[in-house]
């Protein structure tokens, strides 16, 4: 790693630790307390919010100046809690398939955009012979790790899909707004398939979930490994025998989950999410993902048995189906995108919904349900604010299972309102296809 890259990594890691600053004390406004908190709701009086809005127009040029520090924009009318930049997988030949992996006609690119302006900042194409399959973001709003596999992807043949890891670093406003650098992290262990990825908030370590022989009837152990980004060295490894069942999420959809592994508690704790899917050889969505379990563990715990490390903090109550779930970074809430519909028992009575579960009590609270009734409905959690008061999700519906047009929408969900977001992508992103 060059000195310049070391400076970038160290300064951004240090800066990422600054999360709050005290309120501004100005003469003449005693008692004013307007905390500045990244990725947390703006808790401002209505009058102050109105003043902010009024100022937005006059400050627009300043706010979007390329040399502006990584601070929240002055007036996020709706998306104020979102990080400013995202990276998303995009298949120029059409939507990234949601059900069956390995059907890309062209290599998948990574598109970098500004979610506040809708502006596309850069398109990063994979190196020759590779296609991007997963991505995850650090907390600095500038650093992403993306994974690439051999193109075309060898379906059902995990050991043939050598994973290569890359760093994408943003420099918005510069001549080269996104730089792709190969990381020294090795490919997946022989015979395994990557399920999930999570970059530490300070960008120093990458957590990867693997499982052996996920496409075979007798699936091997699940493994979580931390790698140093600087050296590529495995730092710690935890394993668990899943009794022959495939666990995790990402492998099933042909791209890596970036919600099944998350860093919480300021980057000190790793939350590991897995479900037991009994239908590896059967029709998609016929069963499974019904026993979603979340364990948390100290990221500094020594290598060993996953079950002996940390503890189960949440198990999805029966009956329940989480297509994607995410533990909020305050550790108090599990956000679940639920699905319904299957090919065994066709129905037209499903509607995707987002549900919040209290980790302390297990009680659920409906956040939003898409109006209507569908043959199949999926909901994915793509990003969540630290307390879960806001999330970005996407929904997928089809009136009749397997027939007719599908409808996909991504949106910002807050206070029961789902406000559609538009991304300059070929298709609406699903979990694992976008990172903020």
């Amino acid at each position: 790693m060059s000195v310049e890259d070391r400076v970038r990594a160290a300064t951004r890691a240090r800066a990422a630790l600054v999360r709050d600053v005290r309120p501004l004390d100005l003469p003449g406004i005693p008692g004013r307390r307007l905390w500045v908190r990244r990725r947390v709701a703006w808790i401002a009086p209505v009058a102050a919010a109105a003043a902010v809005a009024a100022l937005a127009v006059s400050l627009a040029a300043v706010r979007h100046s390329p040399n502006a520090p990584t601070a929240p924009a002055a007036v996020p009318a709706v998306s104020g809690m979102l990080p400013e930049y995202y990276a998303a997988l995009d298949d120029p030949s059409g939507p990234i398939t949601q059900i069956v992996p390995g059907q890309h006609q062209t290599p998948v690119s990574v598109r970098i955009g500004d979610d506040r302006t809708g502006k596309l900042i850069a398109t990063v194409r994979p190196p020759d012979g590779q296609t991007f399959v997963g991505l995850t973001a650090a907390a600095d709003d500038r650093t992403f790790v993306v994974a690439a596999e051999r193109f075309p992807v060898q379906q059902f043949s995990p050991s043939a899909n050598a994973v290569a890891w890359y760093l994408v670093r943003l420099s918005p406003g510069s001549a080269h707004p996104a730089a792709l650098t190969r990381l020294p992290i090795p490919g997946e262990p022989a015979g395994t398939q990557v399920s999930a990825v999570a970059l530490a908030p300070d960008g120093s370590e990458l957590a990867v979930m693997f499982q052996q022989n996920v496409w075979l009837p007798r699936t091997g152990p699940l493994m979580i490994r931390l790698y140093s980004l600087a050296t590529g060295t495995p730092v710690r490894t935890w394993t668990v025998d899943t009794k022959g069942f495939a666990a995790g999420f990402g492998w099933y959809y042909g791209r890596y989950s970036n919600t099944a592994l998350t860093w919480v508690n300021g980057g000190r704790t790793l939350a590991v999410m897995y479900g037991i899917n009994t239908s590896a050889g059967g029709p998609p969505l016929a069963y499974g993902f019904s026993h979603v379990t979340i364990r948390t563990m100290d990221a500094r715990s020594p290598s060993g048995n996953l079950l002996a490390t940390g503890k189960v903090v949440f198990r999805l109550p029966d009956p329940g189906y989480c297509d994607t779930a995410q533990l909020t970074t305050d550790g108090k809430t599990v956000l679940c995108g639920e699905y319904g519909g299957n090919s065994v028992k066709p129905s037209a009575a499903y509607a995707p919904k987002f549900v919040a579960y209290s980790v302390a009590t297990g009680k659920s609270r409906l956040l939003y349900q898409l109006p209507g009734a569908y043959g199949i409905g999926l909901a994915d959690v793509l990003w969540a604010s630290p307390t879960g008061s806001t999330l970005v999700g996407s929904v997928y519906t089809q009136a009749t299972w397997g027939r007719g047009p599908v409808d996909q929408t991504a949106g910002l969900l807050t206070n029961g309102t789902f406000k559609p977001l538009k991304f300059p992508l070929t298709a609406v992103p699903f979990a694992g296809e976008i990172a903020f």
Binding site: L26, L34, A48, A74
Partner: protein, 170 residues
């Protein structure tokens, strides 16, 4: 006494600017001075200065440039021991940082930050603006109030010095 309408508007505008940019500026200042409390003081003072000069500010869209320059200047004062809120130990960044920061940063990052703080003011500013904020030479020159050539040479010397220090460390 109740503030006038103009006074209230000025307060609201400065507070709005603070809400939008204080976090980013504190992050920048932390990299310069080493600890968050001092960094917050520096940023508070910069905004207080902006508030006092708001009426005289010809071009309000340059408010951020103004306040960023004030922050950089405040950080220089800290290093030179002239900051009015008392001296801060800069010799060992470990003393100035929180326990959380020390634990979370990791040794490799701490070495870089410690080396960064040993650079002369101008080199440190140039390196941080160029490689933390990804500013162009022109943008960094504007923020530092120097020429592009000065930014170029300061960056180059700073990186060379860091390379020497980090090599010696390892």
């Amino acid at each position: 006494m109740e503030p006038t309408q103009a006074e209230e508007t000025r307060q609201q505008q400065v507070v709005a600017l603070y809400q939008a940019h204080a976090l980013g500026l504190v992050k920048l200042a932390v990299l310069m001075v080493g600890d968050q409390l001092t960094a917050e003081d520096v940023v508070q003072d910069a905004f207080l200065g902006l508030y006092r000069r708001w009426s005289a500010l010809q071009d309000r869209e340059r408010a951020l440039s103004y306040v960023r320059a004030s922050v950089l200047n405040g950080c220089r004062m800290v290093y030179r021991g002239k900051y009015r809120r008392g001296p801060v130990s800069l010799e060992d960044p470990g003393h100035a940082e929180s326990a959380e920061a020390i634990v979370m940063l990791g040794e490799a990052h701490r070495e870089v930050l410690a080396a960064l703080r040993q650079l002369p003011d101008r080199q440190r500013e140039a390196v941080v603006l160029r490689y933390y904020l990804d500013m162009t030479e022109g943008q960094a020159a504007q923020a530092m109030g120097v020429s592009r050539g000065t930014v170029k040479s300061s960056t180059s010397r700073g990186i060379a010095a860091l390379a020497r220090m980090l090599k010696e460390e390892s």
